[in-house]
């Protein structure tokens, strides 16, 4: 790890164990190289990672215009130093959101069979009334910081993803990381949207499991979107209800001024009403956290969908290759036997312009043979690729399912806990108010 500037602020500490830094190649067939320790241990085990700070910067963007953007401080520290009782200063570097995006795109292309963890939202969505949609808003920045940290931790704890060199460099190499990424040429390997869309409609033998998965991911996406939308509206209304109670506070205050015996009771009850109205801000802030957890899985569903799409593509290519092979074999047969089985241009032209010379035919046959051989190879590798893909993907999908169930259960539980605490607070406030009211007369 390279040393870097010493910063005043220390990172959050997370205690994990030592991790592996490995180099993963693009095709799973190639062996791992440059492994430093045993395989199978995700990076997070050896290294502490955190996104601890956010800062505003100004600079010139691509079109040489001044812009304001936010950078996030990534701090890393090998765990062994901590366990030895030495708290060495963590290594750190600053990264922008766009760099995170670059990393993720790289991962998506490089590991298409993995459900890649999503980034926190680019723009604030599902915003309820009082919440700012401004990307510069400090609350938004804070939530994004947490989301980015979460992203890094998820990648770092993934058995496959964490071994990627680019990822490691992202965490450690300050300058020139971008160039390294571009050098991998991953962008060329990205599938075009059109190709993928094409595949979706043309696959003849879709894998049933994947079809189901596709449907599930679509449903998950739509249901979570709906949930987030409605939740935002609910939050809005709840806010309204609480805030109007604040008006009670004011009126009670005024009223208490004209009363004698009732005055004190009214006044303090009014204060409690004010407190009640104010409490909604905290409540809704906590709820945002729940919303963020839901959002993560919303975007996860997109990643899931991407895996399915990739599968469709591979499947489609396999089918195409197979089809191509069949037609080439057919052509060979036709040439060899000289019969024109199907209506073809060749048949037409030969009728019109006379048949080819034997030499010409020989040449064509030869070419065809080669193509067939190549085609067979292609089909074989495609098949293998497809199988491999299916296998790997399914492993990760299972892992993802586990993770999802776990995470969402926890999220729901904490949401419930939140609601309970909200109710308890409500009870408290109203009880206090009640006391004040009962003191109003003897």
């Amino acid at each position: 790890m390279r040393g870097s500037e010493i910063l005043e602020r220390m990172a959050d500490s997370r205690s994990e164990d030592v991790a592996v830094i490995g180099n993963t190649d693009l095709s799973a067939a190639d062996p791992h190289n440059n492994t430093m320790t045993e395989e199978g241990v995700p990076l997070l085990k050896t290294m502490e990672i955190s996104v601890s700070e956010a800062e505003k910067r100004t600079g010139k963007n691509a079109v040489s215009m001044q812009e304001v953007y936010t950078v996030y401080l990534i701090e890393t520290r090998p765990v062994n130093t901590i366990s030895e009782g030495l708290s060495a200063a963590p290594d750190s570097l600053w990264r922008r959101y766009s760099e995170f995006e670059l990393l993720r795109n790289y991962l998506l292309v490089t590991f298409p069979y993995i459900v890649v963890p999503p980034l926190p939202e680019k723009r604030a969505e599902f915003v309820w009334h009082k919440l700012s949609a401004d990307n510069m808003d400090p609350d938004f920045v804070e939530r994004r910081r947490i989301g980015l940290e979460n992203f890094l931790l998820r990648v770092a704890s993934h058995s496959v993803l964490s071994k990627d060199k680019i990822f490691y460099l992202f965490l450690t190499q300050d300058d020139g990381w971008k160039d390294v990424v571009y050098d991998t040429g991953f962008q060329a390997k990205a599938d075009s949207r059109l190709k993928a869309l094409n595949a979706t409609f043309r696959v003849k033998h879709p894998d049933k499991r994947y079809t189901e998965l596709k449907h599930y991911s679509d449903e998950l996406h739509s249901v979570i979107s709906q949930l987030l939308r409605v939740r935002a509206k609910v939050a809005d209304r709840l806010y309204g209800v609480y805030k109007v109670h604040g008006n009670y506070g004011r009126v009670f205050s005024e009223w208490s001024a004209i009363e004698r015996e009732m005055g004190d009771g009214l006044q303090s009850a009014g204060h409690h009403m004010d407190a009640y109205a104010a409490s909604v801000d905290d409540i809704l802030e906590e709820e945002e956290h729940y919303a963020d957890q839901l959002k993560e899985y919303l975007y996860y569903s997109e990643a899931l969908r991407a895996v399915c799409r990739k599968h469709e593509l591979i499947q489609y290519e396999l089918e195409m290759a197979a089809q191509d092979l069949v037609s080439k074999k057919q052509q060979r047969e036709e040439l060899a036997t000289g019969t024109v089985r199907t209506f073809s241009l060749k048949g037409m032209t030969s009728k019109l312009f006379g048949q080819e010379t034997p030499e010409q035919r020989e040449a064509k046959l030869k070419i065809l043979e080669q193509q067939i051989v190549e085609g067979e190879e292609l089909v074989k590798t495609s098949n293998a690729e497809c199988d491999e893909y299916v296998r790997n993907a399914w492993v990760d999908i299972d892992r993802f399912k586990e993770q999802k169930n776990q995470d969402l259960k926890e999220a729901l539980i904490s949401y419930a806990v939140m609601q309970i605490s909200m109710c308890k607070k409500g009870i408290q406030v109203w009880n206090n108010a009640k006391e004040c009211f009962s003191k109003m007369s003897h």
């Binding site: 599930y216 449903e219 998950l220 249901v223 979570i224 709906q226 949930l227 409605v230 939740r231 509206k233 609910v234 809005d236 209304r237 709840l238 309204g240 209800v241 109007v244 109670h245 008006n247 009670y248 009126v251 005024e254 009223w255 004209i258 004698r260 015996e261 009732m262 169930n405 969402l408 259960k409 729901l412 539980i413 949401y415 419930a416 806990v417 609601q419 309970i420 909200m422 109710c423 308890k424 409500g426 009870i427 109203w430 009880n431 108010a433 009640k434 009211f437 009962s438 109003m440 007369s441 003897h442």
Partner: protein
């Protein structure tokens, strides 16, 4: 809470109120003994005597010399303060005194703690039967441990269809040990018209008192079905409160009209018959409106007026706020109703997560129900009380106005006296007395009202917070 002593008025003249003869302030001795007597009295003669008394409230005044009948004299009033009253019998009142004497004893028996002279040992007449009646009454703190002898309830609304019209009647049940009533129990049916009549009568005959308000005759807001359960129930409750307040009032409850209202089988005939008799009295108590300018309104009443104005304002504000809250809660409810089912539909797509998701969904549904109940309760219990108080305040303001008029008249007369120099000092005294009496009433009533108000507030605040509690406890079922 003790009643505040009415201040010495600048226009009162030389005598302080304590020196002024108060018809009710008979010798203390006379007051101490009566209760058992009267209580056990069942002789018709006495009852008749009392009844007679009740029927002719203002007339004693009419006998006073030099008295002018335009001043209202309410019913025989109760003693304003618990201080000993110096007694100076005025010839004009002698006649009255005798009649009133027995009535005072009746009053003492009632033991309203609105400033009765403490010399009176209050005997408890055991209240007629029902503890259930007791439970339904909203007992003021002060009446804890004391007993009433008149219990009134309104219930059992029924629709009556006749060729001319359709209307609702309510059953009015009375239980009493008072001797003014022939029977210890009554059960009659009355419709809103009758209540209205009663209130008008009370206002006419007891203009110095604050008459409790009736629920509104017509409800403007929304589509009102006069026969809808909700509306009828709300009205029934209000009518019940109305009668209870009158029954609790030491003076109003002895009003003859009230008696008739509670007991007569056929009210209509009485109404017609009573018209002639009562209209005469009504006239005699009518005020000359306007014309007199007030020299100086005593601070106290100015303060009261101001207070009432501001209070109305505050009540209005609270009413608006409560309505706004209800509206917001309704909108919140709408969203909640959408929220729950989304979890359900998610659950259907999931395997392991199905249960927790369904759980959340049903909890949200719970919340919706609870919220609905809360809103309903607020509407039915909470808001009407505010509106009622607004009405109450209006009638209080009217009383204040009348008081002002009395004072104005008094001042005018004072001037006239000064000019004419014919009248004896006792004339202004009479006027003064009346005025002071009015003020006593007002003060007492105000105190009474304040306290009552407190309790009412407390009651429905408790109701509100109780409801909030209930709501919240439902919420606790989430998760």
């Amino acid at each position: 809470m003790s009643v505040s002593t009415p201040k010495l008025l600048p226009s009162s003249g030389k005598k302080s109120i304590h020196d002024i003869f108060h018809p009710l302030s008979c010798e203390e001795a006379a007051l101490t003994t009566p209760s058992p007597e009267l209580q056990n009295t069942s002789s018709i003669g006495d009852k008749m005597a009392v009844k007679l008394l009740l029927l002719q409230p203002p007339e004693p005044r009419a006998h006073k010399q030099g008295d002018n009948g335009s001043l209202s004299q309410g019913q025989p009033e109760w003693v304003a303060t618990d201080q000993k009253q110096e007694l100076t019998l005025n010839t004009g009142f002698e006649m009255v005194k005798a009649l009133l004497h027995s009535l005072i004893m009746k009053q003492a028996e009632n033991k309203k703690d609105f400033g009765l002279p403490n010399g009176t040992p209050v005997d408890t007449s055991s209240p007629a039967s029902s503890s259930s009646l007791l439970n339904r009454l909203q007992l003021d703190d002060d009446l804890d441990g004391e007993t009433r002898d008149l219990f009134v309830t309104v219930d059992d609304p029924k629709k009556h269809v006749s060729t001319m019209e359709t209307y609702i009647t309510y059953r009015v049940t009375t239980k009493t040990t008072r001797t003014e009533f022939d029977l210890p129990e009554y059960s009659v049916r009355r419709r809103y018209q009758d209540f209205d009549w009663l209130r008008n009568k009370l206002e006419d005959t007891q203009p110095t008192h604050i008459i409790p308000p009736l629920p509104e005759k017509f409800v403007v807001k929304g589509v009102v079905d006069r026969f809808s359960e909700e509306f009828v129930e709300t009205r029934r409750k209000a009518l019940d409160k109305f009668l209870k307040r009158i029954a609790d009032h030491p003076v109003l409850s002895f009003n003859d009209n009230f008696n008739v209202f509670l007991s007569a089988k056929d009210l209509n005939s009485y109404k017609k018959q009573g018209m002639a008799l009562l209209s005469k009295m009504g006239e005699s108590v009518k005020y000359v409106t306007g014309g007199y300018k007030l020299r100086s309104r005593p601070l106290e009443f100015a303060a009261m007026g101001d207070y009432l104005d501001m209070f109305t304002q505050k009540l209005g504000t609270i009413d608006r706020i409560a309505q706004r809250i209800i509206k917001e809660q309704a909108e919140y409810l709408v969203e909640l109703r959408e929220y729950g089912p989304v979890y359900s539909s998610w659950a259907s797509a999931e395997g392991e997560l199905r249960e927790p998701l369904e759980g959340v969904s049903s909890c949200v549904a719970n919340c919706s129900t609870a919220l609905e109940e809360l809103t309903e309760d607020m509407n039915e219990e909470f808001l009407p009380v505010f509106r009622e108080y607004v009405l109450y305040i209006e009638s209080m303001k009217n009383v204040l106005k009348k008081r002002d008029q009395v004072q104005a008249e008094y001042e005018a007369k004072l001037e006239a006296v000064a000019f004419r120099k014919e009248e004896r000092a006792c004339v202004p005294t009479d006027v003064e007395k009346c005025q002071d009496r009015v003020e006593c009433f007002n003060a007492d009533l105000k105190a009474d009202w304040d306290r009552w108000q407190n309790n009412k507030r407390q009651d429905f605040r408790l109701l509100l917070t109780g409801m909030a509690d209930r709501n919240i406890q439902y919420y606790e079922k989430v998760g």
